[in-house]
């Protein structure tokens, strides 16, 4: 928004100043007023002459006519004398003429100057061929002014056209998104005026799409994972109804209980995963020394069937993370490793190119490269875990926490143990 306002102000100022300056320059080029005197200057000069002439000629018994004839022969401005009585004027103008003793009149033939000669009771007329410059210059000025305003409008239109285009794209995309085309995104260019809005829209769209995808996946998975225990329950109850043997009944009851437990566990897992939604969580990030922290965690955790080896890094490494969620991630990774490993688990901290890595490796079958993208989705289990217990939520949880805590999940193959190597890459 800041960019938009700044560029708007700049464009307006720059266009006004540059257009104003260039039109002024052009106008002075077109009207070289300084070279020849304009009408107003000539009139001013004639007024001076006229006053002088009127004083000169206003003398009784002076020889006026020969002078006037002479003057008229040699000058463009024509002099004449008329008796004051036959110089007809409207009353208001007459009063003005009498008091000011001079009058400027204009006709289609030019501007004329008139002077009252009080002594001889005559009027001196000076006819010129000057015309009022008003119209011509006014047209020019009007033209320049129009040019200026149209120029400003044109420049502003040019400036605003990308904005309009961007707004149209935004409107079209939001409409399409609203109509259900969830894959709609806006291509954000660096020069966009509304880049922040576009980026925010894309993020919003990403999030909505992810939510909807999650929703679909979960409902599909839940319905699938619930079907089995429900079918077993129904079968169990039918068998129970037909059985008279108390011992068998007891056994069937225990089985029913187990099925209900499985369903409960599934619901609990689901709720856990749903709670890990970023919107509901405010991670309390703090700096911890990863080597010592991990050592303490693992010492508490030890107790599985497999051998756990921990290789800390040679130096202290400080990582900015939320220990509560990091231990949740590690617990999930360790339980995976215990489930799939044969005999050994290796936990290793490493520093490569200023990036801290935490590897959990096992000596199981590992995860095929083709499967790495699938197994991080909730309720998706890898080829090796078809017959295994669990709902396929472990890696999904680790990935989801890593997504908002800045600890990326990377799946590879352990070189030393030959099984899976699941790594957390800290920012």
């Amino acid at each position: 928004m800041k960019k938009l306002i700044v560029s708007l102000v700049l464009v307006v100022l720059a266009s006004i100043i540059s257009l104003g300056w260039s039109i002024s320059e052009f106008a002075t080029l077109q009207n070289p007023d300084t070279d020849s005197p304009g009408t107003s200057e000539q009139l001013a000069a004639l007024k001076l002459v006229g006053v002088a002439l009127s004083h000169t000629l206003d003398e009784k018994n002076s020889i006026q006519q020969p002078f006037i004839d002479n003057w008229n022969r040699h000058n463009q401005q024509q002099l004449s004398l008329t008796p004051e009585a036959s110089f007809a004027l409207p009353p208001s103008l007459k009063r003005q003429f009498n008091s000011e003793q001079s009058l400027l009149l204009e006709s289609d033939e030019g501007i004329s100057l008139h002077y009252l000669l009080p002594n001889t009771e005559q009027v001196l007329n000076i006819k010129t061929q000057l015309t009022s410059p008003e119209e011509n210059d006014f047209n020019h000025n009007e033209l320049y002014t129009m040019l200026f305003y149209f120029g400003v409008v044109a420049i502003l239109l040019i400036w605003v056209s990308p904005l309009i285009k961007q707004l149209l794209t935004l409107s079209k995309t939001t409409q399409a998104f609203g109509m259900g085309e969830l894959q709609q995104r806006i291509a954000v260019s660096k020069t966009s005026y509304i880049g922040t809005i576009e980026t925010e829209f894309n993020r919003m769209a990403d999030r909505i799409q992810q939510l909807i995808d999650d929703n679909k996946l979960l409902s599909r998975a839940v319905s699938h994972d619930l079907k089995t225990p429900i079918a077993r329950l129904r079968f169990g109850i039918e068998v129970l109804e037909e059985t008279q043997n108390d011992q068998l009944r007891l056994k069937y009851f225990q089985r029913l209980n187990r099925d209900i437990d499985a369903m409960e566990e599934l619901v609990a897992t689901l709720l856990n995963y749903a709670r890990l939604d970023q919107a509901n969580i405010q991670p309390e990030l703090q700096a911890i020394e990863i080597n010592a922290w991990l050592e303490q965690k693992l010492s508490v955790h030890a107790g599985g069937n497999l051998q756990l080896e921990y290789i800390p890094y040679s130096q202290q490494i400080i990582v900015n993370t939320d220990p509560k969620y990091l231990s949740m991630q590690i617990a999930n990774l360790l339980s995976n490793a215990e489930r799939f490993g044969q005999s050994k688990i290796m936990v290793r901290v490493e520093l490569v190119d200023n990036t801290t890595w935490l590897h959990v490796e096992d000596d199981g079958h590992g995860i095929d490269e083709a499967e790495t993208e699938q197994v991080v989705k909730p309720f998706v289990r890898g080829q090796q875990s078809r017959d295994n217990a669990g709902h396929g939520m472990g890696l999904a949880i680790v990935k989801r926490i890593g997504g908002w805590m800045g600890a990326e999940l990377v799946i590879g193959r352990s070189l030393e143990l030959g099984g899976a190597k699941i790594s957390l890459k800290f920012k």
């Binding site: 104003g20 039109i23 002024s24 106008a27 002075t28 107003s40 009139l43 008329t82 036959s86 110089f87 007809a88 004027l89 409207p90 208001s92 103008l93 009058l103 400027l104 009149l105 204009e106 006709s107 289609d108 033939e109 501007i111 004329s112 009022s132 410059p133 008003e134 210059d137 006014f138 020019h140 000025n141 009007e142 320049y144 002014t145 200026f148």
Partner: protein, 129 residues
């Protein structure tokens, strides 16, 4: 201006004809010769006295050139002046037309003038802010 152009053919046609035929130009005057209005475009009112000296023979008319409308007509020297209430917003030509050959034998112009107003020019030139 359009009116002027409509008289133009008449003037061009008439001028050489009376110059060659009439050796003695007929004296024809209007007093006053100008009508002063307060503003440009305003209708100007003025009593104008036309005076002339026509030859003893022939029939003549005083004609408003603009629309060829005769104001008055007479025989020879029967009438030598005419008082006319002029009203117009533009310069008007009056002519004496001989009814024998319909040629204008003389003409006079009553000029409509108005008080000159110096155009207001802003010092900044073209900018009309």
């Amino acid at each position: 201006m359009n009116r002027f152009y409509s008289w133009l053919p008449l003037i061009l046609f008439a001028a050489p004809s009376f110059a060659s035929e009439q050796k003695q130009p007929i004296k024809f005057t209007a007093t006053p010769e100008q009508c002063v209005a307060l503003h440009k475009g305003q209708v100007c009112y003025q009593d104008v006295l036309f005076q002339w000296q026509t030859p003893a023979s022939g029939r003549f008319c005083l004609v408003l050139s603009q629309n060829q409308q005769p104001l008055t007509c007479w025989e020879g020297k029967a009438l030598q002046q005419y008082k006319y209430s002029f009203e117009s917003d533009s310069t008007t030509i009056f002519s004496l037309v001989s009814q024998d050959d319909l040629n204008a034998v003389a003409e006079v112009k009553v000029i409509v003038t108005w008080v000159y107003k110096a155009p207001k020019q802003s010092p900044s030139g073209w900018r009309l802010f």
